[in-house]
Symmetry: D2
Subunit: 136 residues, 4 copies
Amino acid sequence: MPHHITAMLNAHPGGTGSEDKEKLAACIAACFECAQICTACADSCLAEETVADLARCISTDLDCADVCAATGAVLTRQTGDSSSIVRSLLEACRTACAACAAECEKHAQMHEHCRICAEVCRRCEDLCTALLESLS
Amino acid sequence: MPHHITAMLNAHPGGTGSEDKEKLAACIAACFECAQICTACADSCLAEETVADLARCISTDLDCADVCAATGAVLTRQTGDSSSIVRSLLEACRTACAACAAECEKHAQMHEHCRICAEVCRRCEDLCTALLESLS
Amino acid sequence: MPHHITAMLNAHPGGTGSEDKEKLAACIAACFECAQICTACADSCLAEETVADLARCISTDLDCADVCAATGAVLTRQTGDSSSIVRSLLEACRTACAACAAECEKHAQMHEHCRICAEVCRRCEDLCTALLESLS
Amino acid sequence: MPHHITAMLNAHPGGTGSEDKEKLAACIAACFECAQICTACADSCLAEETVADLARCISTDLDCADVCAATGAVLTRQTGDSSSIVRSLLEACRTACAACAAECEKHAQMHEHCRICAEVCRRCEDLCTALLESLS
């Protein structure tokens, strides 16, 4: 997926700075991946016998999936100047990823889906942070 | 729509504070409405002869629609404790609404769809701000 | 919400047939409402003590919310000719609404949120069907 | 991305048939990728000087992005029995991908972003078709 994301950024008529482009492509890929994995983790939690203990985890997974999907789409757009939106949404996205990772880490030893989800969320959180820092 | 939103908040087994509930329902309704109106404004701009002058407006409309849709869904969820996500996402949502309103206001005299969209965005911005203040 | 949806359809530079416009506005409003209500029902089910018995209901709620949100956005766009997409997506949307209504109806006597959700899904299903018939 | 998708399907407590699992993972990955690429193509078209000639392409890109995102999320869920929803949504998704590919192919020689987008849409269309056939 990052391969095509970079190819699309290169094909954009507006252009972007080349150093940023790598961080940007990595962050976009992480957001879309995290949206998918959080959706999957919520659904796996739902199928566990202990689902009642996982209600908070499911809810945080769904929140994180929604925020990551929106962030991935907004970061994809290069036309116009959306820097204030991008910045505040990256803050929200790393907050959501950190909250979801913290919740999934509690169940990571019990449930492989929570272990993978926590890992993917931490990675997305890091890439949002790195992109935010490169913007300021 | 707010009628059903309130009925669903009342039917939630977890419950929420009653004063917050009105502000919450109003903000959720505004987010879903703003997502729809921004999608419509982007599409109307796209059909204008002067579309080349409206590229930034279309892009901001699409960003705002994505952020509002995510915010509406996250606010709808009452299970678990997502207060940090809610707060940072409300900040991002009012930023997106303010940016979209400012852009649409530039074309409000020329295009009725931008006038309506600016109005709906300002309202959503205000309701996000009001909800944020009631949370702190 | 339907008031603003109709105003935006009227403000669209491309125009649409007036009889269709009412059915279209009603269906768009129903799709956005159904997306919100299904998200709320999934979250309320998740907070019930009997959540383990409601796993299928939650999953269908989430599917229905996703399909309705996509359908509401696609129906909102009037530019270009998306009639084949619109038709097949309306079919998917009424299928999802019918499945979600059938599932929620099983719990409607026990849970007010399922009762409301079933009602909103049936209404959305009917409006999708009516719009589909007006298109052929 | 397909690596993590497969790992999550394997970690799901409900389980799925192993042959289907590969087709399913490939289709989910294609849906999320197609949602991202179509969003990028719409944004690149918007930044072209000839944007007025690309209005239909932008609109179809946005429709396809919405349908692919919903389809990717619904396919990700394995809990409950959503076979009727899955089937009708896969039909809508391959219709949207085919329409978007056909539109982008018209501009593929002029715009690299349309060439890539057409290719990704055709791939997603094929994987939806393959998954549909494996379901019947």
